[in-house]
Amino acid sequence: MSYARAACAALEDAMRADERVVVLGEDVGRGGVFGQYRGLAPAFGAERVIDTPISESTILGAAVGMALAGLKPVVEMRVVDFALCAIDELVNQAAKARYMFGGQGRAAMVARLPNGLWSGSAAQHSQSLEAWFAHIPGLVVVAPATPQDNFSLLNASLACGDPVVYLEHKELWGMEDEVDVARAVPLGKAETIRAGKDVTVVTWSRTRHAALAAADLAARQGISLEVIDLRTLWPWDRDAVLASAGRTGRVLIAHEAVQVAGFGAEIAAVLAEHTDARVKRLGAPRIPVGYATTLEDESRIAPQAIAAAGIELAQRPRR
């Protein structure tokens, strides 16, 4: 099953089980531009699969109103970059409604904001903004990297009573893998996808795959990388990361977002506060994503770079 189809399947199940679940956003009636809503409009009708104008503020704001009035909206924002047109509604309204109103209502919703570098799409379609959302109290932040996780985490997000910022990766839609629809993945639980002893690599979203490839490269040089996919960034699985750091004593945090003030900084700070581990970060340079391949590549986090950073870290003595 593809990553896009996995999400669609989870949504289909939720819509069948609960008539309060609705989808709203641009182009959802024709399956969405990535096919991640394919088949929903014919199955559930235009009243529940709601085609909207290009009005991001009102798409997200209306979802808040729907939620306060008893529906469970799934919000399509096309790409995270466009969701910035609705950042006020997400941050000032959705994230705060429950608290501000003293628990009288809550804006439970899943806002799908495809994240990450999208080849050839340049600066306004290629950002990784997960740290923005992790910073906002009230929001849950999820970043699935596989078809299985996209199925299971979307399920968990739909069942969650909080506003969830759901960050699928813009380039994983076509990824194929087996999906066990009976498998539940709780929010906030990391997955250790490769056991290792020298260096812990903490990552998420597409960089999970680069980190796995990096572990192979490093292994050829005798360095053993343990790879942890956080899967949920808020809440993030501190226990898993601290436990692994305790074993390896060295942690590399690798992500596609700009390194400066990226979510890796939060993880590094927590490691510094709670462990003696040696910590290194590997994120994108602080530049907009360029169009030409040579420029775009400067923003990519390649397996070679992760392997090199891991090997370098492994050379440093444990504290």
Binding site: A69, L71, L187
Partner: protein, 338 residues
């Protein structure tokens, strides 16, 4: 269209207005020294932060909300006490919220700018200009799915028509034929700026009509005029189409309670004060055959009710600091600082 309410309904309109006025006056008193802005300095005050008063705008809230059922929904603005009262919220719990008490509608977490009473369909004031519009649109969509003819009323100010959500929300409501009444409560001032000086074209109603949301204008200081216009428009809304009411009123107080609004022309301002909506309403209702004593009694009752609300708010405890960590979120909640 009904030309005038009967005496009982007219008295109910007056009672709503009197209760709003008394509430605003008491809140204003309790707020002095509550915020450092407009040259005012911070000192001890029970009502803290910016307090946006709807004094002088009572006729809009009363005239519109008199047509609403409990199951109808409402969104409001930062100047939302009047709408909240008119939709049926209790004054004591509102005052408790303004005083930041645990017994307030929002458990002391929202204050004036986020006042809400979901139990009567009041989905919240809003600290961001125009942000209630998309929320109201979504609520109207939800009501539409439920069936029936319940409606949403969306109050916003004249400043809001210059923000994007006005265009987006009205367009969406028109495309989807949502049961929603947009009410532009035009008090002619956007903070310290006269809205006319920053608004192009023929104004709120012309913009709405251009989008496909017809409606009408009303004298926002004349409660019977608002009542008539809102009644007619809401009948059309319940039949399944969005409508727009442009109610022109006047902001009697400053932008916030500590703003003395010295930027306004004194002669013009005093002229506007002659059209106090409570005075106008009293005259009109007397003309319907209601004795003046009845109106005066309503005024006294409102004062007494507000005095009791203020006393209750004074006596009520502040929230336990631990409550700061509650109602944030279920997943990922907690004290994430240690």
């Amino acid at each position: 269209m009904q030309e005038a309410p009967d005496a009982e309904h007219a008295l109910a309109l007056y009672r709503t207005m009197a209760r709003i006025r008394a509430f605003e006056d008491a809140a204003e008193q309790a707020s002095l020294g509550g915020v450092a802005a407009f040259g005012a300095t911070l000192s001890q005050a029970k009502v803290r932060g910016p307090l946006h008063l709807s004094t002088g705008q009572e006729a809009v809230a009363a005239g519109v909300c008199a047509h609403l059922r409990k199951s109808d929904l409402l969104t409001s603005t930062h100047r939302g006490h009047g709408h909240t009262i008119a939709k049926g919220a209790a004054l004591d719990r509102m005052m408790c919220e303004l005083f930041g008490r645990a017994s307030g509608y929002n458990q002391g977490k929202g204050g004036s700018m986020h006042i809400a009473d979901f139990s009567v369909g009041m989905l919240g004031a809003n600290g961001v200009v125009a942000d209630g519009i998309p929320i109201a649109v979504g609520a109207a969509h939800a009501l539409g799915m439920r069936g029936g003819d319940d409606a949403v009323v969306c109050f916003f100010g004249d400043g809001a028509i210059n923000r994007g959500p006005f265009l987006e929300g009205l367009n969406w409501a028109a495309v989807r034929s949502l049961r929603i009444l947009f009410v532009c409560e035009d008090n002619r001032w956007a903070a310290t700026t006269e809205t006319g000086s920053t608004t192009a074209g023929a104004g709120a109603l012309a913009r709405a009509e251009a989008i496909g949301v017809p409606g009408c204008k009303a004298d926002g200081n004349d409660v019977l005029d608002v009542w008539r216009a809102a009644g007619a428009l809401l009948a059309e809304v319940r039949a399944g189409a969005p409508r727009m009411l442009h109610a022109v009123t006047y902001r009697v107080k400053g932008h916030v309670s500590v703003d003395v609004a010295g930027y306004r022309d004194a002669a013009k301002h005093n002229k506007e004060l002659e059209r106090d909506p409570l005075v106008l309403a009293a005259a009109e209702i007397e003309a319907l055959g209601v004795a003046r004593e009845k109106l005066e009694a309503i005024g006294r009752e409102a004062q007494a009710e507000v005095a009791a609300a203020v006393a209750a708010a004074h006596a009520a405890p502040l929230p336990d600091p631990r409550a700061a960590y509650e109602e944030v979120q279920d997943t990922g909640a907690g004290r994430w600082r240690e």
